[in-house]
């Protein structure tokens, strides 16, 4: 079974994306109540990013390195770890800081100014896209892990009948050679 931390990490990350997407929609036509809701959504988004960081980090340090990384690296898609995972684990570190920045700007800038409003809106959308790239990379890593496991499973499935045939052959051969022979005196 997939480790629960991986689901928690992905789920929290997706909640963060939804929260920033919610803030983005609220900021499209900002009124007093919409700005208030955008602030709540953005705060939730930043908190979810931090929680996703902690859960993903715990999984990465305690499980991934020992159990998943060697399987991916031994598989046909070793690049999924060496390029994608290495990129993801470092690029992800920027997201919580971008989330904090968006929250500060949303609270400190004048949203009546169209220039300020536009730049916050674009930053919020940028955070959503940035986070979605993490989802895509997570998909590639999981896919490579499954693919590597399938190779192992396929290998085992193919090798099993072959192993049985070899064992059966050996058994029959052993029986044949162990057949009691008549000794020179005619007795058994």
């Amino acid at each position: 079974m997939v480790h629960p931390l991986i689901g928690t990490h992905a789920g929290l990350g997706e909640l963060a994306i939804l929260a920033f997407l919610w803030a983005f929609v609220e900021l499209l036509g900002p009124t007093k109540s919409r700005i208030r809701r955008a602030k709540i959504a953005s705060l939730l988004g930043a908190v979810f990013f931090v929680l996703s960081w902690v859960t993903g980090g715990t999984y990465y340090v305690t499980q991934y390195g020992e159990l998943v990384k060697p399987v991916i690296k031994a598989g046909a898609e070793a690049w999924a770890h060496s390029i994608v995972m290495e990129t993801k684990e470092h690029v992800f570190l920027m997201l919580p800081f971008l989330g904090v920045l968006q929250n500060v700007l949303l609270r400190r800038m004048d949203l009546n100014d169209p220039k300020s409003r536009r730049v916050i809106l674009i930053l919020t959308g940028w955070i959503v896209l940035f986070a979605l790239s993490m989802v895509a990379m997570g998909y590639l890593i999981s896919g490579a892990y499954r693919s590597a496991l399938e190779i192992i499973t396929t290998g085992a499935v193919l090798l099993l009948p072959l192993g049985l045939v070899v064992m059966l052959g050996y058994f029959l051969l052993a029986r044949g050679t162990a057949k009691p022979r008549k000794n020179v005196h005619g007795g058994i």
Binding site: E86, E89, H90, F97, L101, R107, R108, K115, V119, L123
Partner: protein, 102 residues
């Protein structure tokens, strides 16, 4: 959030993102540097996270007036943040692509 000045948080974000790229590449290129981060956090990735949080906090809480007399235009510098984040992403990605094929 009275103490959080937009200009210092923007600066903190830019510095943190550049630090992420520099630390990531330095760790891969030099084992002693990687070991420093292992010492800090028990795992190099945890150590990196701790250092980045410290960098962000330091730059965020620098009094604005010590950095510049006239605060920079926040709108313009927010664009810079987005460009730096994109370039940082590409720099890390390309580094690992080159690292994988060489």
């Amino acid at each position: 959030m009275a103490r959080w000045s937009p200009s210092t948080v923007i600066l903190a974000t830019i510095v943190t993102m550049i630090a992420t790229v520099v630390i990531t590449i330095a760790k891969e290129m030099s084992k002693p540097i990687k070991d420093v981060f292992v010492t800090i956090g028990g795992h190099h990735w945890v150590g990196t996270g701790i250092v980045l949080v410290i960098i962000f906090a330091i730059f965020t809480f620098i009094p604005e007036k010590t950095l510049w007399r006239k605060p920079p235009k926040v709108e313009r510098w927010t664009w810079v943040v987005m460009v730096v984040s994109l370039l940082s992403f590409l720099a890390i990605f390309l580094f690992y692509v080159i690292h994988f094929f060489t």
